[in-house]
Symmetry: C2
Subunit: 691 residues, 2 copies
């Protein structure tokens, strides 16, 4: 059950889709304390209790032992001391001595989560503004509570099936020729590919909904050519709109009053990629509608997918912060400054970007009232995503479009997916990619993934290969890198044939992965779960942070250490190890419950299938539409007959339905031999291990 | 055997202590290529070959797969993409298909180590200046090559025994009262303590060899009081000397021409903690002698140990870089700048510190010639350490002083230890601490350790506890934290009693740890070794990066993950697990060769003792001098009689001798019962597991 408790004057964030009645009594489970505007909620923790949740943020699956902060931040250095990333997903699920319960803090402003950080055995959640709804979640299990919370917050975004294909990206693809050359390299080497994502380079002077007509003389033609080759273009859209007279988006926004303003009524100006820019007030329905319709300019050019960026919103500087830094420099220039003055000077320039003061300079209009941005900061990106999704729905309500965003808030999961932001080519970020998947799933974000190979810093052939081995399983599978870093397309590395073979597994698993994702969408379920969700009574499983359950059938456990040739794995039950080298080259090793060392050469990666379950494998394909979902080889370890199911649909239409899409699979064991049947399916059973 | 090959005009770095004849033929093992001044040495790598070495730097014990750079750097963010830390230890040891060999690149300028980074199966070492000696090391094993290299580079620094005690530190202890209060808290709670290290706060206006007479009215009195309580003060000394007329060190240095100069003969000025400063030319013997003698000012006050800092040298700014940034700001101020100009402006201030151009602005005098700093950059800290050590030897040649440095170069290991620099309160840095220990040992740095709990960022009670559990084994065991971070003394945390119990193990192990360290000093051995050194034929052991051999008897395997309650351990042979909670509370579990899961509660940590070996445990003590090294309990798992040995000495005199210090221990097994004897030792055998 979920109960709503209101404090102060909660702002409607549209995170939930059903209006629960506000409870009148005291909030159970927490001691509530007000200090000025701040409101804090504290509870004791058992010594070994777990805390799950918080979606996109740093550190472990068990969030215990750190101070987190809900404050969407454009900060590219995801080190473990950080308190925020790009999203605010304020869901906590407690599990331990006192049973399980959860709490969702629906507050679009700054919220602090001190989870056993100041005091090891106490959690203190602090709403800085004190205006929020707390949804208390009671239930018997983590899985059940999570499903109920997801029911309250609404069905997750369903991507088009092609969005599960491999997408190549880079900040730096400067022209049509670049794009075509990279596509060609993939196709010629038979490296599967379904999408080319375009970073800010494609735009005309970084202006939203434009493209550089010199570098991309015929974008519709390019999009059509690529689509004929089964590849989609996926351009970026930024939150800021260039301040430039004659630029239609700017002019329209100014004319119709769609941009955020300062207290004195003047337009707020912040500099981002296009230089000085205005920011649409995505919190207003009319501004959202207007912005969402802008996507048509590219939809009409044949674009079917987008990524929304810089929507925390990121601010490189404002005229005010820049001027303050200039003034500081001028004042100190004539002095023989001391060391403290020097650091203050450095800070004046070093803290120009995303400065807290700037987020207090502008206002949104909510129900006719002006609300200062910092009170609703964490909603901004979510409402940009909503604007796009509403625009697509108006453009073609029958069709699914690809959409994923950097910033988000719970509620945005209904409109699009997310990528995990500007990570780095660090082995530690491969592991963080894994750990974030179930946490994102809890909060409803199912279509997600990280920049494979790492966005910042220089990757290496072995890191990219290992990261692709994890990316095989994440719905969004995109290789993306920053300007100035080493070329990162798979074929740039001498071990690209091994990368190609890894990608064949992605496409062979596509029927299974799509089915698993869509089942999660249609049942308010999770595609990825912490082991703690499935084996709550097994403390070792609960504390295992480098393995994750995939669907109801499987577990993944990537190698995330350089120069490793294997890893330790804990099996919470008997499982079949599939040691993949490619879609057609793998070992099957039945393994019993317990601790194991699994040998995994650099070109090998594991999938563990729970005993008594099957995972179907299709034939190799180089793009999603070429995957034959009807001709499947079943992998598994069985000791009896089983019933399984697979979801499928046309992959593009918005009319999705669980019952219509589910196909039953029956595997019958007789005299030690398996036969399998499923309506409209050709099923092979040679790779079923029987014992 | 070691062979020397010269290229260009090598500068004498005094890294080696014996002059080998220069070989006349071509350098074997490497293809040598000159490109302008640059000289590169490349060799092919087998797919699975290992590369060890490089001492203090980031990433794994196996250095394969990254680009490293010899360039001593003051950079506090030790993320895995970094190429340099504070030291340059240019030793590589290759092991793989083609057997083993090593190479030491004795070049005090910039050297790049591309170890399978650009091409996965090729190592390319590039000397930027092209003037160096390459020492090729041939041998039959990693251990043997390492010992031979250490013989060439000279006996490692031996600290006083008290330097193995627990040291408490913080940037921020501002007064005698602060120091006394912290000491009192430790003594009252019986938290062992042997040293209080003092950061820059103690100085008068950050001037070397001074102290603030208001905050420390009677430093000699404080030092004497603490020493009576068995605690030493360990002050910091920085490389830069404040530019201030009337400050004797500055005046003397100017008068005698001991500071580095620019090309035009004027004194080079760089700003560090004291503001604008001069930099002693430590590469000159006369300047070293002069600087070394300055330590007397504190030695006379009763100080017996120091840490040398900021000696890369770090440069916060120079008047030139600062002026360039000011000018940039002024030029842009009146323009409506574009985004690229904005980033250039930010960079102008962001890259002021440790700017490469500044390292080309000043010169050292070597053999009467002016040598630009960047050609010998990596020697600077090493020569500061040498200056101090030579000063101590002159002051009291019979006595060992404590000395450790931030910057170093091979050769400095003869004069002092190192700490691992300004790490962070990151779990990943606990693991990095472990990995760096054997790499530092290879290069001769035996007295070393990291800032326990982490220097930057805020620590937590569990991180500090786990880190202390590793620190138990590192010769330098110091808890140190930066200004502005959470108070980090053990007693600040609610779980301090568990920290206290961990520290009792340190002191109980002290006879063993001191013996192990001094044996390594006196035999050119390593206290910590990668498993690859001891089990070269065991590929799993060779690839194990989170466990390290300790002496000839043991292996350590700390827990380095938050919320973990155990870890996987690979035993390359049968070992006895000692699961420590305190010096008097532990489990003994014989474990067979292979993979294991070991349960380790937050308050528990393991030591693994090789079967057939013993590790002695003394009684609890609160300071080093109180440890009774003659009354020892033997821990081990034996199936027959054995001979062991323990080194000891008075802990302070410089006259150290292996034969004089070694005591034989005989454990005799008869009828399943053990008896033990050793000259002058009372030995207990109740905790020997016999089977």
């Amino acid at each position: 059950m979920i109960y709503r408790y209101d404090f102060g004057h909660p702002i409607d964030t549209s995170a939930v889709i059903r209006q629960l009645p506000a409870e009148q009594g005291e909030l159970p489970r927490f001691a509530v304390r007000r200090e000025g505007e701040k409101l804090s909620f504290s509870c004791e923790l058992g010594k070994d209790d777990f805390i799950f949740g918080l979606g996109e943020t740093v550190r472990g699956i068990n969030k215990r032992g750190h101070l987190y902060r809900a404050w969407n931040s454009d900060d590219f250095s995801h080190t473990e001391d950080k308190n925020s990333l790009y999203a605010s997903h304020n869901l906590l699920l407690f599990s331990g001595e006192g049973g399980v319960f959860g709490a969702y803090f629906d507050d679009p402003g700054e919220v602090l989560f001190d989870l056993g950080y100041t005091e090891m055995n106490r959690a203190v959640i602090t709403s800085v503004n004190g205006d929020l709804s707390v949804y208390l979640i009671e239930g018997d299990s983590l899985v059940e509570m999570c499903r109920e919370f997801r029911g309250l917050t609404g069905r997750s975004y369903a991507p088009p099936k092609w969005g599960l294909g491999y997408i190549q990206s880079r900040w730096g693809y400067a022209s049509e020729d670049d794009i075509r050359a990279i596509v060609r390299e993939h196709r010629e080497r038979h490296i599967p590919l379904d999408g080319m994502s375009m970073d800010i380079d494609y735009m005309d002077d970084f202006k939203d909904f434009t493209w550089n007509r010199d570098a991309f003389p015929d974008l519709p033609g390019l999009a059509a050519d690529l689509k004929a080759d089964h590849i989609r273009l996926v351009p970026i859209i930024d939150a800021g709109v260039k301040q430039q007279k004659g630029y239609d988006v700017c002019d329209e926004g100014v004319e119709n009053d769609f941009f955020v303003k300062k207290a004195d009524g003047s337009l707020f100006v912040g500099a981002v990629w296009p230089g000085r820019s205005y920011f649409p007030d995505f919190l207003r329905a009319d501004a959202r509608l207007w912005f969402g319709r802008q996507y048509r300019k590219l939809l009409d050019a044949g674009i079917e997918g987008y990524w929304n960026d810089m929507n925390e919103p990121a601010l490189f500087y404002t005229p005010e912060t820049l001027e303050a830094a200039y003034a500081k420099a001028e004042a100190l220039r004539e002095k023989n400054i001391g060391i403290h003055e020097f650091f203050a000077l450095k800070d004046a320039f070093g803290t120009i970007a995303n400065n807290p003061e700037d987020y207090r300079r502008f206002y949104h209009e909510i129900d006719g009232k002006m609300v200062r941005h910092d009170k609703v900061h964490n909603l901004y990106g979510a409402m940009m995503t909503r604007a796009a999704a509403e625009g697509f729905a108006e453009y073609d309500p029958e069709k699914r479009f690809l959409l994923f965003s950097r910033a988000s808030y719970i509620g945005a999961h209904r409109y699009g997916g997310v990528w995990q932001g500007d990570n780095n080519s660090w082995w530690g970020h491969l592991l963080m990619n894994l750990k974030m998947m179930p946490s994102l799933n809890m909060c409803g974000f199912l279509y997600c993934g990280a920049d494979l190979g790492g966005f910042g810093c220089h990757t290496t052939g072995d890191l990219l290969l290992r990261w692709l081995q994890l990316g095989v399983f994440t719905p969004l599978m995109r290789n993306h890198a920053a300007q100035g870093t080493r070329d990162q397309e798979a074929y740039r590395f001498e071990n690209w044939p091994e990368m190609r073979r890894v990608l064949t597994v992605r496409y062979a698993l596509l029927p299974y992965l799509y089915s698993t994702l869509m089942k999660a969408v249609l049942t308010d379920g999770m595609m990825f779960r912490p082991l703690a969700f499935d084996y709550p009574a097994d403390d070792t499983a609960c504390r295992t942070e480098d393995q994750v359950m995939l669907g109801d059938e499987a577990m993944i456990a990537p190698v995330y250490e350089q120069n490793a040739r294997g890893r330790h794995v804990y099996l919470p039950e008997d499982m079949l190890l599939v040691r993949f080298r490619s879609a057609s080259d793998y070992d099957l090793v039945p393994m019993t419950k317990g601790h194991h060392w699994v040998e995994l050469g650099l070109h090998e990666f594991p999938l563990f299938i729970r005993r008594g379950h099957v995972v179907p494998l299709a034939k190799e394909a180089e793009w999603v539409e070429a995957v034959d979902s009807a001709d499947l080889n079943l992998l598994g370890w069985l000791d009896g007959s089983i019933e399984a199911s697979l979801y499928d649909d046309d992959g593009v239409s918005t009319a999705i339905d669980l019952d219509a899409g589910l196909k039953a699979i029956t595997v019958t064991l007789r005299d030690g031999k398996a036969t399998a049947s499923g309506e409209g399916l050709t099923l092979h059973t040679n790779d079923l291990v029987i014992s």
